[in-house]
C-alpha cells in the first residue's frame, strides 16, 4: 500500500476514470489500526473481497457502481459501514472502531 497523504490515500497509478474506488483508513481513538481486516459486502450482504489494513491503517477496493458495506474486523471490534461507489470516483472512508 502507498503511504498516507493529506485527504486520503494516493491514487497514483490507478485509472480512476475506469474504477469505482472505495478506500480509507481504520482508526481507533484517532490512531491508525494496522492489520485490521476490512471486508467488502455487496448489496445482498454477500462477501466480495477482503484486505488487511496497511501499516498506516489504509485499505482500498475496486468495486462497481452501487451501495456496498464495509465490515471491519479487528481484535475486540467489528464495525459495519455503508458506502456508495461509482465508476470514475473515489469514495474515501474513515472507519472509527470502538476503543478496545
Amino acid at each position: 500500500m502507498c503511504g498516507a497523504t493529506t485527504g486520503g490515500l494516493s491514487v497514483a497509478g490507478i485509472d480512476t476514470t475506469k474504477e469505482a474506488v472505495i478506500q480509507g483508513r481504520v482508526l481507533r481513538a484517532g490512531s491508525p489500526v494496522a492489520g485490521a481486516y476490512v471486508r467488502l459486502l455487496d448489496h445482498s450482504g454477500e462477501f466480495t473481497a477482503e484486505v488487511p489494513t496497511s501499516a498506516t491503517g489504509h485499505f482500498r477496493f475496486f468495486a462497481g457502481d452501487g451501495n456496498w458495506t464495509l465490515r471491519t474486523l479487528a481484535p475486540g471490534a467489528t464495525s459495519d459501514r455503508v458506502v456508495r461507489a461509482a465508476r470514475g470516483s473515489v469514495a474515501d472512508v474513515e472507519v472509527e472502531l470502538d476503543a478496545a
Binding site: 481486516y37 473481497a49 477482503e50 481484535p75
Partner: protein
C-alpha cells in the same frame, strides 16, 4: 477423509508447530506478508515464484516441485500444515497443489493467518532454515485437476460450481474487488454453472463451517452429489478452497479444480458465456 485428518486449529499449531515431522508453510496472495511476521517455525512458499512456471502459464513440473521441496526441507513423510491470509485462499491452493503431486499428509490451519492475528497470537520475523531433503513427487493426479475442454464438455452435464462473488459471476465485476477491474477477458460465467461463493463455506473469522452447514449450502445450490463436480473461480485459488470443502471435508469423490478458471475461459474464442445472475442454458 474427515475434518480431523485435514484441518488443525490454532491451539494445535501452538503446541505442535515446531515438532519433528511437522512443517508449517505460509502461502499468501500478498507474498510480503510472511516477511512482516510469521508463525514460529513456518517457512514460506511464494504461490507465483515457487509454484508457477516462470514462462508458460502452468505449474512447475514434477522435477521442479521435487527440487523446490527438497531445497526448503520438506520430506515425503512430513506433515505439511499450510496457512495464509485471505481466509486461506492461497493456502488451500497450495494444499490442492501438494495433493496434485501426491503429498500424503497435508493439513490446513483453520482460519489461517487472519484468525491467528485476530486472536492476537504471536508472530515472529526470525529466519527459518530447514535441512535439505531428497523429495520424491508423484505424477500429477489429474483426477483432481480439470482443463478447459472438460469444462466445455461438462456444460449442462456435470455440476459446475463457480465460487466467485455474485458480481463477478454475473459479469458486473471482472476480478475480486481488492484488485483493479480492468481485465482482458469477457465478463460472465460458464453456462449452467451455479454460483456458490467460496465465502459461504467460511465464517467471518475464516474458519470452515460445520459439515452439516456445508452440505446444505451446496445441496441448496443444486450440486449433484452422485456425479462429478468441477469448481472454478478466476485463477483457481478460491476454487481450491471449495475443492477442499467438497473433497477433503465432505469426503466427496470426483471433485476437480479448474485452475485455468475465468481468466482462461473468459478469454477463449467461440465458447458459450452466460451473463447475469442466472446459470443460463446449455
Amino acid at each position: 477423509m474427515s475434518r480431523n485428518d485435514v484441518l488443525v486449529d490454532a491451539d494445535w499449531v501452538a503446541e505442535h508447530g515446531t515438532d519433528d515431522g511437522i512443517v508449517l508453510v505460509e502461502v499468501d496472495e500478498d507474498t510480503t506478508a510472511y516477511d512482516g511476521g510469521h508463525i514460529a517455525g513456518a517457512i514460506k512458499l511464494d504461490w507465483k515464484k515457487d509454484l508457477q512456471d516462470p514462462v508458460r502459464r502452468d505449474f512447475v513440473d514434477r522435477q521442479q516441485f521435487e527440487k523446490l521441496l527438497s531445497g526448503r526441507g520438506i520430506g515425503n513423510d512430513d506433515t505439511v500444515v499450510l496457512y495464509g491470509g485471505n481466509n486461506n485462499w492461497f493456502a488451500a491452493y497450495a494444499y490442492w497443489y501438494f495433493k496434485l503431486y501426491g503429498h500424503r499428509d497435508v493439513r490446513l490451519l483453520d482460519g489461517g493467518r487472519k484468525k491467528w492475528e485476530l486472536e492476537a497470537r504471536p508472530l515472529t520475523t526470525d529466519a527459518v532454515t530447514r535441512p535439505t531433503t531428497s523429495y520424491t513427487a508423484q505424477e500429477q493426479d489429474l483426477s483432481i485437476r480439470a482443463f478447459r475442454d472438460e469444462v466445455i464438455a461438462s456444460i449442462g452435464k456435470k455440476s459446475l460450481v463457480d465460487v466467485r462473488s455474485p458480481d463477478e459471476y454475473a459479469g458486473r465485476l471482472l476480478a475480486p474487488a481488492h484488485l483493479p477491474q480492468e481485465q482482458s477477458q469477457r465478463g460472465g460465467h460458464v453456462p449452467t454453472s451455479v454460483n456458490v461463493p467460496w465465502s459461504k463455506a467460511a465464517n467471518d473469522d475464516g474458519t470452515f463451517k460445520s459439515d452439516d452447514e456445508l452440505k446444505k449450502i451446496y445441496s441448496d445450490a443444486g450440486v449433484n452429489w452422485d456425479g462429478e463436480i468441477i469448481a472454478l473461480c478466476r485463477i483457481g485459488e478460491r476454487s481450491s478452497h471449495t475443492w477442499f470443502v467438497l473433497q477433503e471435508l465432505l469426503g466427496q469423490q470426483g471433485v476437480k479444480n479448474y485452475d485455468g478458471s475465468w481468466t482462461e475461459y473468459g478469454s477463449l474464442v467461440g465458447v458459450p458465456v452466460a451473463v447475469g445472475d442466472e446459470p443460463g442454458q446449455a
